[in-house]
């Protein structure tokens, strides 16, 4: 039978820790996509595979224990089944945990979609001495059963075949499980009433609807109401009232709520089937996990092991990650230089082109600043995946919950906060992303909101600078103190938010501590890459746009024609000076004026650059020198301190070179002054100045204001901007930035320093974090709030320090 392959949708359902994702990987291979379900942070994963007659789009539903309307994951999973009506379901169950797995399968069955039972982790079941009679199981459940070992790819062919058959299956009488007789009679009465009012003659599966209504399921009730209004028939109030009436009657007669009977009924049915289908005693179950737990969760060892694991984690990400990032950084720089190379060298010694500034300093600079973190994030997300897959993650929450709960947080806040940089410097972006694993929406939101107060890596250079300025004797102590300070403020604010600001009931803390597993390399890698990719997609474009905005903000409106003329005049003067001081007899004199001088300067830059790139490699250095000297021997001697390509000192060239050096210093000085003036005159500068009357309460003058404003897009630029403002240039003879600041701000006291430290410790998050907050809370309002409250809190505390501090001593 040769015909076009039919396109069908199949959904993969299963409980957490059932190995669902390994089955998904086994079926779809590399053809996978990840996105978010609209409006929520639950990941939507889908992939595809082909059989002889079908092209299957396989959707990986969120892993859930049940299908109630209480959690986002469960709502998404069941709404997908109800509205998209996949042609078949693959229910992945843990063969060694059949009883609880069937609890979910029974609910799926009530949704009237053909099911293939994928009996996964068969190897574990076998090693635990469980013999499962597949035929009995198939017969009892009335659905095809396929044993698999997802992580080894065993059972794939059989599973695909079973899916193919299930899709073709015609509807037939389904065997739902039977609840106890009393409940069944109530279900019948409800069913009759629904039939009568034709409420569910439409697409909702009848059995599912009756059971859910008896369970008092909020969404099912809403669906009932919604459908009725559309149909304009029957009395909605009546129907919902009837459900309430039935429930009341049930509770009065049997002294318990229907949902308890329903759950008990499912477990009863599961127990009976398991008793019939499984032979052998579960003799080895959990013994390994038990033994590990008795050490890992031992009261005294637990905190030590936790600290050890987090320290290793921290070391791997922040230390090795940074090393890796630094190694890749030259590649990024090279990319920037390639782009820089696209711009023709400007004939101007003190200005670069406006477009060049926009692209290089704004766009490319911003993107590179973000891409720098990619290797760090890759390791970070890899580490998180290891923690998740191994089973340690929920145990971390188990250990920490008691402490964090008292601040309105949750045991599961531990990891996000550590990532955000509780103690030594982390990054709020992965911190916010890691809150995704938190099921308690209230605690999750609070964790996200306090993330900006953590010590982000990029704040560290600024801390070091300020500490060096004012507290050089107690460097370590002050650094440690400031990070502790941030953490304590964060805890206090968390407590405040949970008591007064963030509404909503805390989700129940009923958390599985799954059996330990050795994570697979593939699983860890693919998740790490997936998340980094998500990050790049979300962040890079927006950051680039805002960086361009910031660039405009610190560059325009510019300094006006007159001032530009002034700088031109000074340059001309310097040029004249150069020409005048050099002996006319010097045969290099003719290179030191006009266009030739400009060319020479570019040549020199090029040579320095190439030499830097060659680094310590003597062979390559020789090669560079050879290329440049053949290109222009005279320039080479001038740029190379009077030493010609063959290693001889040319006295004339040496004299000219030393004059050239002096000239260059002057040009740099002019450039620096001009740049400073541009920033001063820019919009950022104006805002900084106009804020001065207010910010002086905390001791910040306009220079600090500008630095803070312009570092909004990325805090990395804080120290850099200060450098520009304080006319400091690396490698120049002006000394260190510290000295420049000390010279300019001679009136500063320790309290100035402390106030600015306090403010920066509570600094508003960088742009990337804000975007992540927007993404994870799905709310622009919270994003704006997370921007503003740290500024306000930080400013108030800084004012207090600055105003009250001096009174204390």
């Amino acid at each position: 039978m040769k015909q076009q392959a039919r396109e069908v949708t199949v959904a993969l359902a299963g409980q957490p820790n059932s190995g669902k994702s390994t089955v998904f990987n086994m079926l779809t291979g590399a053809r996978q996509h990840v996105a978010n379900y609209p409006g929520v942070t639950v990941e939507k994963k889908w992939g595809s595979f082909a059989t002889t007659t079908l092209r299957v789009r396989l959707v990986d539903l969120p892993g859930t224990y049940s299908l109630t309307s209480y959690t986002q994951e469960e709502r998404i999973a069941r709404d997908f089944i109800l509205t998209e009506k996949p042609e078949a379901l693959v229910a992945v169950v843990d063969a060694s945990n059949l009883e609880r797995s069937l609890y979910l399968v029974f609910q799926l069955r009530e949704m009237d979609i053909p099911i293939v039972l994928c009996l996964n982790m068969m190897d574990t079941a076998k090693s635990r001495g469980l013999a499962i009679d597949l035929e009995v199981l198939e017969h009892e459940l009335d659905m095809p059963v396929v044993p698999t070992v997802g992580k080894k790819g065993l059972g794939k062919r059989e599973l695909v075949h079973a899916v193919e058959r299930a899709v073709g299956q015609s509807p037939r009488a389904r065997r739902y499980i039977r609840y106890d007789a009393e409940l069944e009679s109530f279900l019948e009465r409800l069913d009759a009433r629904l039939e009568e009012s034709r409420a569910s003659v439409d697409s909702l599966p009848r059995r599912w609807l009756t059971v859910k209504l008896m369970e008092n399921d909020e969404e099912a009730r809403k669906r009932l109401v919604g459908r009725h209004e559309v149909a304009r028939e029957g009395n909605v109030g009546d129907l919902v009232e009837y459900v309430d009436f039935l429930r009341r009657e049930y509770i009065e007669s049997f002294k318990r709520s229907p949902e308890k009977s329903i759950a008990a009924g499912r477990y009863h049915a599961a127990g009976e089937i398991v008793a019939r289908a499984i032979e052998g005693r579960d003799f080895d179950r959990r013994s390994v996990t038990d033994r590990i737990d008795s050490i890992v969760l031992q009261p005294i060892l637990a905190p030590i092991i936790l600290a050890g694991i987090l320290l290793t984690f921290y070391q791997a990400t922040m230390v090795y990650g940074t090393v890796l990032a630094d190694r890749f950084f030259p590649a990024l720089q090279e990319g920037k230089e390639i782009i820089a190379g696209l711009f023709a060298p400007t004939p101007d010694l003190i200005r670069s082109g406006l477009l060049q500034g926009l692209v290089l300093d704004g766009l490319v600079g911003g993107v590179i600043a973000i891409l720098y973190y990619v290797p760090i994030f890759l390791i970070l997300f890899g580490c998180i995946a290891i923690l998740e897959d191994s089973g340690y993650m929920p145990r971390m929450a188990f250990i920490m919950d008691r402490i964090l709960r008292s601040f309105g947080l949750h045991g599961q806040s531990t990891l996000p906060l550590i990532l955000g940089g509780v103690v030594v410097g982390g990054c709020a972006v992965p911190g916010v992303m890691a809150t995704r694993a938190m099921k308690d929406e209230k605690a999750r939101l609070i964790t996200i909101l306090i993330m900006p107060l953590m010590n982000c890596l990029a704040k560290i250079p600024f801390y070091v600078l300020i500490v060096g300025l004012f507290f050089s004797a107690y460097q370590g102590l002050v650094l440690f103190g400031i990070s502790l300070f941030g953490f304590f403020v964060a805890l206090l604010i968390a407590k405040l938010f949970s008591s007064y600001l963030v509404r909503g009931e805390s989700a129940p803390f009923v958390m599985e501590l799954p059996a330990y597993h050795v994570p697979t390399i593939r699983g860890v890698l693919s998740r790490a890459v997936e998340r980094v990719w998500l990050f790049i997609r979300k962040i890079v474009t927006i950051v680039a746009v805002v960086m361009v905005g910031v660039w405009f903000f610190v560059t325009f409106p510019g300094i006006g024609f007159e001032r530009e003329m002034h700088y031109d005049a000074r340059l001309a003067e310097a040029e004249k000076d150069l020409y005048d001081t050099i002996a006319p007899s010097n045969r290099y004199a003719r290179y030191l004026s006009g266009d030739s001088l400009v060319d020479l300067m570019h040549y020199r830059d090029g040579l320095n650059e190439a030499q830097r790139n060659a680094g310590e490699d003597a062979h390559e250095l020789k090669e560079v020198e050879r290329t440049f000297s053949t290109r222009n021997p005279a320039f080479f001697a001038l740029a190379n301190n009077g030493v010609t390509a063959d290693g001889m000192i040319d006295p004339a060239a040496r004299e000219a070179a030393s004059k050239l050096k002096r000239f260059e210093r002057k040009v740099r000085g002019i450039k620096r002054e001009r740049r400073k003036e541009i920033i001063d005159a820019s919009w950022a500068g104006r805002v900084g100045r106009s804020l001065e009357p207010v910010s002086m309460w905390a001791g910040f003058n306009w220079r600090i204001n500008i630095a803070i404003i312009s570092s909004f897009a990325a805090k990395e630029s804080l120290v850099g901007t200060l450098g520009t403002i304080y006319s400091f240039e690396e490698g120049s003879q002006a000394g260190t930035l510290e000295q420049s600041i000390r010279r300019t701000e001679s009136g500063w006291t320790v309290w100035h320093g402390l106030a600015v430290l306090v403010f920066v410790a509570l600094f508003p998050p960088c742009l990337a974090t804000l975007i992540m907050i927007r993404h994870e809370t799905q709310s622009t309002g919270w994003m704006i709030f997370a921007t503003i409250y740290p500024i306000v809190t930080g400013f108030i505390l800084a004012c207090l320090v600055f105003q009250l501090g001096p009174l204390l001593i």
Binding site: Y65, S66, T68, Y70, T71, N97, E99, R100, Y103, R256, E259, K260, A263, A264, Y267, D282, R285, R286, T289, D293, L297, P299, I300, A302, P303, P394, A397, F398, I399, D401, R402, I403, R405, G411, E505, A507, P508, F509, V510, M511, E512, L513, P514
Partner: protein, 74 residues
């Protein structure tokens, strides 16, 4: 008695769950139904939450929630 009164190592049978809404449903989903045999495995280092074995799975619950689970020693 209620589940939070048990010491680590003690086993019991669930009689009823005196909780409502999401917590109740979640506990039911995890198997805390009438007649289920459970065992307190250990306390967290700060004594709360507690680690419960139910149907060969380990489930952590806070003491506040365990206080709503009525049990009978076996």
């Amino acid at each position: 008695m209620t589940l939070d009164e048990l010491l680590p190592g003690q086993a019991c049978v669930v009689r009823d769950v005196h909780l409502e809404g999401a917590v109740l449903q979640r506990l039911l989903d995890m198997g805390f139904v009438e007649g289920a045999r459970i065992e307190v495995v250990r306390n967290a280092p700060l004594l709360d939450p507690i680690d419960i074995r139910i149907r060969n799975n380990l489930i952590a619950v806070r003491r506040s929630e365990a206080g709503g689970i009525e049990v009978e020693r076996v």
